[in-house]
């Protein structure tokens, strides 16, 4: 079994703090079990603010105002949703950079219920200009993308979740990666959705693109990969989050888009992440049903051109 993505983030962050005097790590209790050693080595640059998430985000931005590169971490629900105005004003409006790393995602903490689930994190970040959004699908990609984000100077959100693909890809910043070539449509699989997508489309003759960085959105790469203007987007967060960008990329072309992801209704169930993946139709069987239906509709309404 491959490495755990969240532990990989923690180890990578610690290494970056060791390597670079301008890097600071700010967290709010969460993941503290992984940060003890690096905090002892660098107490000036590894800061646990306690259960204070507004302060967490503002502290990161305040560090950036002195020229440091902050890594700011807690669960996505508290990082992006609870402290959203701090992201909007203290990073965007001040115009400083930083790397926000949210763990837990849509349903890692399935047994915790709605309070610890943040399927809307990327949609919320999308209301703000200029964020790079990374959705690694494998622990090795977590390491690559966190390193990439910290080495830059912009605003980066890294979404670290437990679900991962069997194989990692080398990250290609700003570019989607063609994985399968077919003729009956194109499926864009985001992060950990790749493995279930590949299983779901076996024998369906579709192209598959893989994205571990979704903002900026590689509309040109999507366009280049199209065999016909039928696109399915499979995202591990709120369904439809990237639909606007797909439509922008194909604005001059009659096209169809199917947006798959976490449904907006509150599930009110506990259980395992696998239960939630299935409940939202994001397991291979659910995806195959949705994608097959979409492709069949396409056959009924054959494109004019």
């Amino acid at each position: 079994m491959s490495r755990d993505p969240r532990r990989t983030f923690a180890r990578t962050a610690a290494t970056l703090v060791d390597e670079d005097l301008s890097v600071a790590l700010v967290y709010a209790e969460i993941s503290g079990q992984f940060f003890g050693d690096v905090e002892r080595r660098h107490p000036e640059r590894v800061i646990n603010v306690g259960i204070r998430e507004q302060l967490l985000v503002s502290t990161g931005a305040g560090l950036a105002l002195t020229g440091m590169r902050p890594i700011v971490h807690t669960f996505a629900s508290f990082l992006v949703e609870r402290a959203f105005e701090q992201i909007k004003l203290d990073f965007n409006h001040q115009d400083v950079g930083g790397v926000l790393v949210g763990s837990g995602g849509s349903f890692d903490i399935s047994g915790g219920g709605r309070t610890h689930q943040a399927p809307g994190d990327v949609a919320l970040i999308d209301t703000l200009p200029g964020w790079n959004v990374h959705v690694p699908g494998h622990a090795d990609e977590v390491e690559q993308l966190v390193r990439l984000a910290v080495s830059g100077s912009g605003r980066d959100y890294v979404r670290v979740v437990g679900q991962q693909n069997r194989t990692a890809f080398p990250v290609t910043p700003g570019r989607f990666r063609p994985v399968l070539a077919g003729s009956r449509g194109t499926v864009l699989a985001v992060g950990p959705m790749l493995d279930p997508v590949l299983e779901a489309v076996a024998g369906l003759d579709v192209s598959v693109l893989y994205a571990s960085t979704v903002r900026p959105f590689d509309g040109r790469g999507l366009r280049a990969a199209l065999n016909r203007p039928d696109v399915v987007v499979v995202e591990p967060y709120l369904a439809g989050t990237s639909a606007r960008l797909v439509n922008d990329a194909l604005a001059d072309l009659p096209h169809r888009v199917l947006s798959l992801g976490v449904r907006n209704e509150e599930l009110r169930r506990y259980g395992s992440p696998a239960d939630h993946i299935a409940a939202h139709g994001l397991d291979a069987a659910g995806l195959r049903r949705s994608i097959s239906g979409f492709l069949a509709e396409s056959a009924d309404f054959a494109p004019v051109a």
């Binding site: 204070r52 507004q54 931005a61 409006h93 001040q94």
Partner: protein, 239 residues
């Protein structure tokens, strides 16, 4: 109170503007001699900071080791703009058409538009948490610079401030000073609450007359090793 100091006595290097000129500079923005209470309540604190406390000039606004001033209570920024103009950070001729579409000076300041402005403020409860991060950043880089934040007493209603007060006290951020301009405008306020709350969290606390320049200067220069400091600057009650 120190009033009416002439510019040649105090600021020959800064185009000749002194404290006595601030109300005239503010009237360029208001169009008359009346000012809002919010603008005026901060006047003496902001002036004393730039005139006697902060180690920052128009030439050092980008120096990493400069002292910083974060105006967290961003509404009513006329006294701030007037002081920045008097001290040469911004041209005086920016003042007259402030808040117009073409002007870099808004009803809430924007650090990306105004030289010398350190944070963009307006939404309450952001300046002090940002300042905690900045104090940590300066400390981590071995810089002894001061970071002074101005908040209003009603701004302290916002819970984010209390997260910051607790952490700054716990970490002993001695580079950090908060000035609370207290015009008793907080709803549900309690007399004496502000200084007691900061002191409970390990801050050194002083209460002064927010119109008395000598008292403000003394309190702002007072530092306690290993502790952040708060100066409660009491001014006349709002309304």
């Amino acid at each position: 109170m120190v009033l009416g100091m002439t510019s040649t006595q105090t600021l020959p290097e800064h185009k000749g503007y002194g404290y006595g000129d601030l109300r005239g500079l503010m009237s360029l923005m208001t169009g008359d001699e009346k000012h809002t209470a919010a603008a005026t309540s901060t006047l003496d604190v902001v002036w004393v900071l730039y005139d006697r406390i902060l180690d920052v000039t128009p030439e050092t606004v980008d120096d990493p080791a400069r002292d910083r001033f974060y105006l967290s209570k961003g509404h009513g920024p006329m006294a701030y703009y007037a002081t920045l103009a008097a001290k040469g950070f911004i041209p005086v001729d920016w003042l007259a058409d402030w808040a117009s579409y073409e002007s870099p000076l808004g009803h809430h300041p924007d650090r990306n538009l105004v030289p010398g402005v350190e944070i963009s403020s307006g939404s309450l409860g952001h300046g002090l948490p940002l300042a905690v991060g900045t104090a940590l950043g300066l400390r981590a880089q071995g810089m002894g610079s001061r970071i002074v934040v101005l908040v209003g007493d009603a701004e302290l209603d916002e819970g984010s401030n209390h997260e910051a007060v607790e952490l700054a006290g716990a970490l002993g951020l001695e580079g950090l000073t908060v000035v609370v301009v207290d015009n008793r405008s907080s709803t549900h306020n309690r007399p004496g609450r502000i200084e007691r709350r900061f002191a409970t969290e390990g801050w050194s606390a002083a209460v002064v007359d927010g119109r008395n320049h000598a008292e403000l200067e003394l309190a702002l220069k007072q530092r306690t090793p290993g502790r952040p400091s708060v100066v409660v600057a009491q001014v006349e009650e709002k309304f």
